[in-house]
């Protein structure tokens, strides 16, 4: 084998190794970003869960309020029907107009049940109204909770491991 051929082979190998190293580092950094985003998704998942629960509770409360006050039921129905008609006129899409109208009605019902919300953090995680809290349990306002969760999300994106749910709760305390 001539020196020239050997040099060419070595140069080719060197280039391949450099390329492999660069690719490996690139993939590693992508996985690192993925890990951080996965950790931050925990925060999103928890927030999403609590928000759904809050909406559910608010809806329950709103319906209860409407049953007590018939006039509000009528107004709500009229508002929903108005939304329905207006949406149908604007979009000329009956299904979409119906969905939009019902969504508006649902939001209105939720609005009737809105209150100051708190989060109970213990064996059970739940969102309750402020007036429903008993003095023995550990709680935090929903606004503070969201603020703390945003902070945790930033830390997770910076590379901090959040751990399991108890670890997250302990970090909030």
């Amino acid at each position: 084998m001539s020196q020239y051929t050997l040099n060419a082979i070595l140069e080719h190998l060197r280039q391949e190794l450099t390329l492999t190293e660069v690719k490996a580092r690139e993939i590693g950094s992508r996985f690192e970003v993925l890990c951080r985003e996965t950790e931050s998704i925990k925060v999103d998942a928890l927030q999403n869960y609590l928000e759904e629960q809050r909406k559910s509770v608010a809806r329950d409360r709103g319906i209860a309020s409407l049953i007590k006050d018939r006039k509000r039921v009528r107004d709500s129905v009229l508002v929903a029907a108005g939304s329905f008609i207006l949406g149908g006129l604007l979009t000329r899409d009956k299904f979409r107009a119906l969905t939009a109208g019902m969504s508006g009605f649902d939001g209105m019902v939720q609005g009737f049940g809105e209150s100051k919300w708190c989060v109970l953090l213990g064996k059970k995680i739940s969102v309750v109204q402020e007036e429903m809290i008993s003095p023995q349990v550990t709680w935090i306002t929903l606004t503070s909770f969201y603020r703390a969760m945003e902070e945790l999300k930033k830390r997770a994106l910076d590379g901090e491991k959040l751990g399991n749910l108890d670890d997250v709760i302990s970090k909030l305390m």
């Binding site: 190998l13 190794l17 190293e21 490996a24 580092r25 590693g28 950790e39 998942a45 749910l165």
Partner: protein, 316 residues
């Protein structure tokens, strides 16, 4: 019109210039009229043409003056040229006469040359004949000379030939034998002499051969000594050459070893560099695998986290 004639007359008298007589005026008018009639042109046209012609004449006069000057100048130049032409003509005639004389001489010389060539060819033929005769005579003389030379080589001089003649005649007379028989007997005796002489010649040749062999032997001995000397010289040169070549081989070997070592060290450096690159790539791959593992752990952790949230929710 005739009725207007009087009026015309009075008008003409009135217009007539004082210093121009009436006769001349009418004469001029008549001539003018004739002129217009003959040329079928008006007086104005004729006058214009006249002026044009006058201008042209003036112009031509200028050209004629210029041409006259040129003619005069050329006439002045022609005179010396004419005298020069006459001189040249005379020279040409003289030269033509000379050429004629020379041509005549050349003709004479040519005819003389032809005569001389004829004489020369005749002399050449005679010379050739003489040469042939000379060659023939020379060959005959050479034949006689050869005979004499052969007789001389045999050792017979004129005196010997006379003695031989006397011997043969005496034998003829004493033995009373025909001269032809005497000659036969003589040559028969000469044949015996040939045998004896042949033996002696052989002996002499053998002796000569032995002498040549001895000489050759001594020459060969000398050559052998010379060759041995050259052999010694060559052996010395071979030793020197071997030493020189071995030194050169050693030098070349050392250089080759050095080059090989340099190349090996270069290759080793390249391999070390390559190995370092491979280690770096391996480290990068290891780090990547760690990150993949972390990613898998994160995925599991997220699943557990979501499961845990659901569990807590179900617990509610």
């Amino acid at each position: 019109m005739p009725e207007h004639l009087e009026a015309w007359s009075s008008l003409v008298k009135k217009l007539l210039p004082p210093d121009f007589p009436a006769e001349e005026f009418f004469e001029a008018a008549r001539r003018l009229h004739d002129l217009e009639t003959s040329h079928c042109k008006s007086f104005e046209t004729i006058t214009e043409e006249y002026e044009i012609h006058c201008q042209r004449i003036e112009k031509l006069k200028g050209e004629v003056d210029s041409l006259s000057k040129s003619k005069l100048q050329l006439s002045n130049e022609i005179k010396p040229l004419s005298s020069q032409l006459d001189t040249l003509k005379r020279e040409k005639e003289r030269l033509e006469n000379d050429v004629q004389i020379q041509t005549t001489k050349i003709q004479e010389l040519k005819s003389r040359l032809k005569e001389v060539e004829g004489e020369k060819s005749t002399l050449d033929r005679e010379t050739k004949n003489l040469r042939r005769r000379k060659v023939k005579l020379s060959s005959e003389v050479e034949g006689k000379d050869e005979t004499l030379r052969k007789l001389g080589e045999i050792g017979f001089s004129d005196e010997d030939l006379l003695r031989l003649k006397a011997f043969l005649e005496r034998m003829n007379k004493d033995e009373n034998i025909d001269l032809t028989k005497v000659k036969e007997k003589f040559f028969s005796a000469l044949g015996l002499y040939k045998d004896i002489n042949g033996l002696e010649r052989k002996k002499k040749a053998e002796t000569e051969g032995i002498r040549e062999l001895v000489t050759e032997k001594s020459i060969l001995s000398g050559e052998i000594k010379e060759l041995e000397k050259r052999k010694g010289t060559l052996l010395g040169e071979m030793d020197k050459t071997i030493i020189s070549i071995s030194q050169r081989l050693r030098t070349i070997g050392e250089e080759a070893t050095s080059q090989v070592q340099q190349q090996v060290s270069s290759i080793r450096e390249q391999f070390d560099s390559l190995l370092a690159d491979a280690v770096k790539a391996g480290q990068a791959i290891g780090e990547m695998q760690q990150m993949v593992k972390k990613g898998e752990d994160s995925e599991k952790s997220l699943k557990n986290f979501i499961r845990e949230i659901r569990g807590r929710s179900e617990a509610k």
